[in-house]
């Protein structure tokens, strides 16, 4: 068939090119990985009417519907209007015009999250409501960024492999008089976390430096001697990614920040990207922008105007440990390239 299609334009519209010329896969956002189950009917309708009847559970928690013919994209976009209105505007309060043109951009990717404390016994935070707040801050933006939220340091959400990875942590409080020296917390911290607890003189002592804030100790304590401080805290990892060149696990940028601080930081993301890319959005993910700016510059921009809470810790410097698929990958010609 003789196609003449601007695939870049469709990509921005969240339709991904297929190996079958003229076919595309739609990626529907689901911030925090949660939507009302009733939207499965919407997904099914699109797949059955315009797609090939299949649904792929997208790697970033999107509903991905393959096999959509180019000529049907207009109809699909029109049909999507209600979904976008309800999921983006009504649920996340995203500031955008919803029209018959479908998704306005693919830049900021679907914000991923594990189920969080609405269900999980290990979680420390409400990942879904946080995902929705973050969606509002980054979408729609043409600057590319991947973010994921984990309810606890188990990191089922793979926050470690995102440009911005958010981990819900808890400041633990110990009630000396309630402790019965059973050592359940000591054993659990050793087997599940960082082995920072020990029994001394019939009570617990903690090596505070290395507590990961998982709250396993509170979960197992029979008397409620360990409890979470009601304020929620977050750890922010940056620069994690997969990829063909130099994938790497993210590094801790912020520790023990409050939600207010976290959202202020995310709120600075677009300005930082614009600064690095000279206000010209490119298909480059956040981690690369941090690399381009250098950590010092990144830190300066992203913390601009942010008032850190007293508990907050900020990484002084970062030591990336990339998986170099090709050694000397950082050694590049300096002259003769544009």
């Amino acid at each position: 068939m003789n196609h003449d299609i601007d695939i870049k334009k469709l990509q921005v519209n969240c339709f991904r090119q297929s190996k079958v010329p003229g076919e595309f896969m739609l990626q529907m956002r689901a911030p925090g990985g949660v939507v009302q189950a009733k939207y499965l009917a919407v997904v099914q309708h699109i797949a059955d009417t315009w797609g090939n009847g299949q649904l792929h559970l997208g790697m970033r928690q999107t509903f991905s519907i393959p096999g959509i013919k180019y000529e049907n994209i207009e109809a699909v976009n029109e049909y999507l209007r209600g979904y976008i209105e309800e999921v983006e505007v009504a649920s996340c309060d995203v500031n955008m015009d919803v029209n018959e043109g479908g998704y306005p951009t693919i830049g900021a990717r679907n914000v991923m999250a594990c189920i969080g404390n609405s269900h999980c016994i290990k979680a420390n935070i409400d990942t879904l409501s946080l995902a929705r707040k973050m969606e509002k801050l980054v979408f729609p933006s043409h600057y590319h960024i991947k973010m994921s939220i984990a309810g606890c340091p188990n990191d089922c959400a793979k926050a470690t492999f995102n440009d911005f990875g958010i981990v819900g942590i808890a400041k633990m409080e110990y009630d000396y008089d309630r402790c019965i020296a059973c050592e359940r917390c000591v054993e659990t911290c050793a087997s599940h976390a960082t082995r920072v607890l020990s029994l001394e003189n019939g009570k617990i002592v903690k090596d505070v430096c290395c507590c990961v804030g998982c709250a396993e100790c509170a979960t197992v304590c029979p008397t409620g001697a360990w409890t979470r401080r009601p304020t929620k805290f977050y750890r922010v990892l940056i620069g994690g990614r997969s990829g063909k060149q130099y994938p790497r696990a993210g590094k801790i940028f912020l520790n023990w920040v409050t939600e207010e601080v976290l959202l202020a930081v995310i709120g600075n993301w677009q300005a930082f990207s614009a600064e690095v890319l000279n206000h010209q959005p490119r298909y480059l993910h956040g981690g690369h922008l941090i690399d381009m700016a250098g950590y010092e510059k990144f830190k300066e921009w992203i913390l601009k105007g942010v008032k850190l809470n007293p508990e907050a810790e900020v990484a002084e410097r970062l030591y990336w440990t990339e998986t170099e698929y090709r050694s000397n990958i950082h050694v590049k010609p300096v002259c003769g390239v544009d």
């Binding site: 404390n117 304590c221 029979p222 008397t223």
Partner: protein, 350 residues
């Protein structure tokens, strides 16, 4: 006598009571629950009746007030053990009917078992008066009716909360003057007369059946289910066990406290002696011990009631979702079978 009081009026009177009493009641500790964004309801000193969580069952029992989790017994130096001090103020504590029965079980252990009363228990217990809180319909893990602990007359005051008002029965004459000018009402507390749960108690009729109960495969099922965490015994109003140890204040260890902290028969070190030999090694064996302790041994030793009062807090708190009521019903089914087998073997027709 009974009275109808607004919550604000009650607070004024409470303020007066606080001049002579320390007042404990179940309170809400927001977001301090076991899981994220869950609350913890436990006993603490209240300042207002509005602090009282009356429409939920507390996670921990009022025994903490009389049998503290950690209690200093002596202050020691190289030369002497000096008895710890105690706050002499009398205590008023808001409790459920089952709790009052539960504390009577503690009385049996601490005041009657052995040759002499436990002085530390007695010195707190002697100052305690109860304010009975009505249970309404009760809760889904309660089985007080099966245990015969749903009613009691052993209280000083009784209260029903009704929105911005409360009804208060004043039984203890020493409180009458305080309420002399209040609006009277016709109020007697109502007790739960049926629970959603019914528990059948095991009727172990012979030594032989008891031995077979010990050998039931039922207990082994807890080897994989029970974590031996002791959350059930910590929540239990009638669990009394403790461990005594010394704690040094200073680096040189020459002065410090001898204190007792709660112990649990579910913990794996409960029977372990210096040198490492222990007697109940598996979670199932410990579960069997606890279960029989609660519904057989205590009655066998002291006569009268069982130790368990059916408050259901152990079930509420078990992170493994082990229901004590279900455990008891399962056990009773097995005991019925063993009793029938024993009867058949001796030729007695059933």
């Amino acid at each position: 006598m009974a009275y109808r009081l607004s919550l604000s009026r009650m607070d004024e009177l409470l303020e007066k009571m606080r001049e002579s009493y320390t007042i404990y009641a179940p309170m809400r500790f927001e977001k301090r629950g076991r899981y994220s964004d869950t609350d913890l309801v436990r006993y603490d000193k209240i300042r207002s009746v509005r602090d009282i969580v009356y429409d939920e069952k507390s996670h921990f029992s009022p025994k903490e007030v009389i049998h503290p989790i950690t209690q200093a017994l002596f202050h020691f130096t190289e030369f002497e053990y000096r008895e710890s001090e105690v706050d002499e103020r009398p205590v008023l504590v808001f409790v459920r009917p089952c709790d009052i029965h539960g504390i009577q079980r503690l009385d049996t252990m601490f005041l009657e078992n052995g040759d002499a009363a436990d002085p530390y228990y007695k010195r707190l217990r002697d100052k305690v008066k109860f304010v009975l809180m009505e249970c309404g319909k009760g809760w889904d893990t309660c089985f007080c009716v099966s245990m015969g602990t749903n009613r009691t007359e052993d209280y000083s005051l009784a209260v029903r909360f009704a929105g911005e008002e409360l009804l208060l029965e004043v039984k203890d004459p020493s409180f009458r003057p305080l309420f002399a000018s209040e609006k009277t009402a016709d109020f007697r507390p109502e007790f739960v007369s049926a629970n959603r749960l019914t528990v059948r108690l095991p009727e172990i009729k012979s030594r032989d059946v008891l031995e077979k109960v010990h050998a039931l495969p039922l207990w082994e099922s807890y080897d994989t289910r029970c974590l031996s965490c002791g959350a059930c015994t910590a929540a239990c109003v009638s669990c009394s066990c403790f461990t005594t140890s010394d704690v040094a204040y200073s680096e040189n260890g020459r002065s410090g406290d001898r204190r007792r902290v709660w112990a649990s028969c579910l913990h794996k070190d409960f029977t372990v002696m210096a040198g490492g030999h222990g007697f109940r090694k598996t979670p199932g064996e410990r579960m069997r011990f606890r279960t029989l302790h609660k519904v057989y041994d205590f009655r066998a030793r002291f006569g009268g009631a069982d130790m368990c009062v059916g408050c259901g807090r152990c079930t509420d708190r078990c992170p493994q979702l082990i229901s004590f009521a279900a455990t008891l019903n399962r056990l009773s089914g097995e005991v019925d079978r063993l009793n029938a087998e024993a009867a058949a073997a001796t030729g007695v027709s059933v």
